[in-house]
């Protein structure tokens, strides 16, 4: 009897042991699976193509792709990061402002490659730590502000196109004449964005930020505001963007240009894709050289960067993913898909193919690329400033207040300084 019971107990014990072992393996495997998982967010759905490619090349890893809005990148991401949450890797718009959350990729990637390819682009991602050599992310392409002109309207009005080196005033006057001759609704329009306005301000000599990282309110900024307000008052620009909305709200009316209602629209290179697909050959258009102010002919650089965050539990995998995005073939692929302007050294040297894009878009891209060497130091300094967004928000808000007669230009300028100083003070406390 005992001889029968013992083997059955042993059998049961073995079964339990096997079960426990299998369970332990399953738990360990699921842990491993979780250990190889990161979340990536971007505003461009096509990034998913690259996350899929990454997973194929790195079996056993999982990259969850999250498509978000630009508003979410600007407003929700900082709050998530502030509470130690958020994705492992994300596109960021405020490069300098969020720099304290970035993961330094040096232990995981070929730092030399990043320095070679992205050089000066890495500086704004270091925020206040300008002299450091952290590698906080990558940006293979850049966006540039720029002016789109409706050539068909110029031809219809028999108005000669202002030449390269023409001032903002020249363009404004020409746009008004064309609008009058062709009965077009709007001579000039500019996105409601501090970034777009900064191009005008720097052209007029505004320094915006000093070497210590404090705001500069100078005659250049005030002249730019005055000129801009005058254009709204005399009908060169409509009130619908800057005059109709309050606060720091970003708005654009690029569809006005696509619908042939605007002679001159100051937007940015990201609109090329839309222009190619929506306008095509409906009318002739071009991107012209940056209009000049008293000081320079400037457009602001910008765009998104891809960064990994310190809170990630998978720093190696997150860094691997960034390195994967920074690989030449992947940058080339992403660039070709979206007609972006390259900044990676190799791509700038060898050029990028934009399969399927029209000749007009290629010309526009060449025009944008021509502006890059003209970008002054002040524009880069402003772009990488930690309080750039505070300054841009304030400029947008205060200029709108001048337009609706709540403030005069001097008071508005004083408030811009006060707003940014308060932001600096609040961040430092």
């Amino acid at each position: 009897m005992t001889g029968n019971v013992l083997p059955s107990t042993l059998l049961k014990f073995r079964l339990v042991l096997r079960g426990a072992f299998a369970l332990a393996i399953a738990v360990w495997l699921s842990g491993v699976a979780r250990a190889q998982e990161i979340t990536v967010q971007h505003i461009d759905a096509d990034v998913k193509v690259l996350t899929d490619k990454f997973m194929k090349e790195h079996p056993g890893t999982k990259v969850n792709f999250r498509l978000v809005s630009y508003q979410s990148i600007l407003e929700s991401l900082p709050v998530q990061l502030g509470s130690g949450q958020g994705p492992d890797v994300s596109m960021v718009g405020d490069w300098g402002g969020l720099s304290r959350y970035y993961l330094d990729l040096r232990p995981y990637v070929d730092a030399g490659y990043f320095e070679r390819e992205f050089g000066s682009v890495l500086v704004p991602m270091r925020g206040m730590d300008r002299k450091g050599n952290a590698i906080n992310g990558m940006s293979g392409s850049m966006t540039l502000n720029g002016a789109f002109v409706n050539l068909t309207l110029f031809k219809q009005a028999r108005e000669p196109l202002p030449k390269s080196g023409a001032t903002w005033d020249d363009w404004a006057a020409a746009a008004v004449r064309v609008a009058k001759a062709t009965r077009t609704e709007i001579p000039m329009e500019m996105d409601r964005s501090g970034h777009r306005f900064a191009s005008l301000a720097i052209s007029y000599g505004a320094k915006l930020v000093d070497d210590e990282g404090y705001p500069v309110i100078d005659e250049g900024l005030k002249t730019a505001i005055r000129t801009f307000v005058d254009w709204h008052r005399n009908g060169t620009m409509p009130m619908d963007l800057w005059g109709a909305v309050g606060g720091a709200t970003h708005r654009d009316n690029f569809q006005d240009f696509m619908n042939g209602k605007v002679v001159f629209y100051f937007g940015g290179s990201w609109a090329l894709f839309k222009m190619d697909s929506a306008v095509g050959e409906l009318f002739e258009w071009a991107v012209v050289d940056a209009p000049c102010g008293i000081s320079s002919c400037t457009v602001m650089p910008g765009g998104g960067a891809m960064v990994a965050f310190k809170h990630t539990k998978q720093p190696r995998l997150a860094a691997q993913f960034i390195a994967f995005l920074a690989r030449e073939d992947n940058m080339r692929e992403a660039m070709g898909r979206h007609t972006n302007i390259p900044v990676a050294t190799t791509l700038v040297k060898t050029g990028v193919d934009y399969p399927g894009t029209s000749e007009r878009v290629r010309e526009a891209l060449a025009s944008f690329t021509r502006q890059v060497p003209k970008i002054p130091k002040d524009a880069y300094a402003f772009q990488g400033w930690r309080f750039q967004r505070a300054a841009m928000n304030s400029m947008t808000t205060r200029i709108s207040q001048v337009l609706s007669n709540e403030l005069d230009v001097d008071t508005a300028a004083a408030f811009i300084k006060k707003d940014v100083l308060l932001a600096i003070q609040a961040a430092k406390r």
């Binding site: 402002g97 619908d240 109709a244 720091a248 609040a426």
Partner: protein, 336 residues
């Protein structure tokens, strides 16, 4: 007694014994608690679950808000923030002249306060007046009454964002309203780029969106007034105006008071519709206090949580005072 009713009795007794099981189980616990705490303190035990929920979801956020308002930095974790005393309140309240917001340290806060002070009385008055008028009309036996009740209530069911977007499409430069005006040969009007017009449209849109809710409450109030009083008034040949003034209005007073309190609180909290419609503009013409708090705390970089928390506590204080006055008034109303 027949078999069916006996079975029924048995079933009821069985169900009762099952239902009373937990109560019988709790009996010794309750008796023990009563002995330990005394009859006077026992109700607190029953209130404890609710008090815990209120503490977690109402009192705790207020305490956290106070903590944020007296600390600085753009860090979100309270532990990473530094004590700054009342400096956030000082920043908000410092003004050379309270009549001129441009002389204030935070001019937009004062502009928002001023706009709110103008917006709330006008919006509430217009809202309650229209809601009452509509309720009176829909309380009469008119044709398609149910349809019209649905029509007026419909905007309440829409998301505020949908409401605002709809009106943006109607009022923008190339919107439907300007399209109609253009079609009959008039020049287009800048509905949202003129400060005064934008303010009026903000009032209109919020009234349009929320009036249905108050209309339904008032309609219920009107229907609870006994019909025989109206019949008596009819026999006395009272004029409609006299009937309204002497019967409807006095009997509707408690409901009107509730509507008024709800409308004022909702009006002070107005945000979504105006945020989408005008973004607080032109300039700051339609910026209300909640919009200012949102913008300061969540929309501009770097986030100034301390200043936003201080502003929201000041708003809370004003609402608290206002509610206290309302409660006193409503008690007076009951005594009448």
């Amino acid at each position: 007694m027949n078999a069916a009713s006996r079975l029924n009795d048995k079933l009821v007794r069985f169900l009762w014994s099952v239902a009373s099981l937990p109560a019988r189980g709790m009996e010794p616990v309750m008796a023990g608690l009563q002995r330990a705490l005394g009859v006077g303190r026992l109700p607190w035990v029953f209130l404890l679950p609710n008090l815990t929920i209120i503490a977690m979801f109402s009192a705790l956020p207020v305490l956290i808000n106070i903590l944020y308002s007296i600390t600085g930095s753009d860090n979100l974790y309270p532990g990473d923030r530094h004590f700054v005393g009342l400096s956030n309140y000082e920043t908000l309240l410092s003004c050379e002249s309270y009549l001129d917001p441009s002389t204030c340290s935070r001019d937009l806060f004062w502009r928002a306060v001023r706009n709110t002070l103008v917006f709330v009385p006008i919006q509430v008055t217009v809202m309650v007046a229209f809601a009452l008028g509509t309720a009176l009309a829909l309380n009469r036996k008119i044709r398609a009454r149910g349809f019209f009740r649905g029509i007026f209530f419909f905007p309440v069911m829409l998301s505020p964002v949908v409401v605002a977007m709809t009106w943006v499409w109607l009022l923008q430069r190339d919107g439907a309203l300007n399209g109609m005006i253009g079609a009959i040969g008039f020049d287009r009007v800048s509905w949202l780029t003129d400060s005064a017009r934008a303010f009026k449209w903000s009032i209109f849109v919020t009234v349009w969106a929320h009036m249905g809710f108050y209309m339904i409450i008032l309609l219920a109030g009107l229907q609870s007034i006994p019909a025989d009083i109206y019949e008596a008034a009819k026999m006395d040949r009272a004029t409609p105006w006299r009937v309204f003034r002497r019967i409807t209005l006095p009997l509707l007073k408690p409901v009107l008071l509730v509507v008024f309190i709800l409308a004022v609180i909702r009006s002070v909290q107005t945000f979504d519709e105006i945020y989408i419609l005008t973004g607080g503009g032109p300039g700051s013409a339609t910026k209300l206090i909640v919009h200012y708090i949102y913008e300061t705390g969540f929309a501009v970089m770097p986030r100034n949580y301390g200043l936003a928390a201080a502003a929201s506590l000041l708003l809370g204080l004003v609402l608290f005072i206002f509610t206290a006055i309302q409660m006193r008034l409503s008690k007076g109303g009951r005594n009448d």
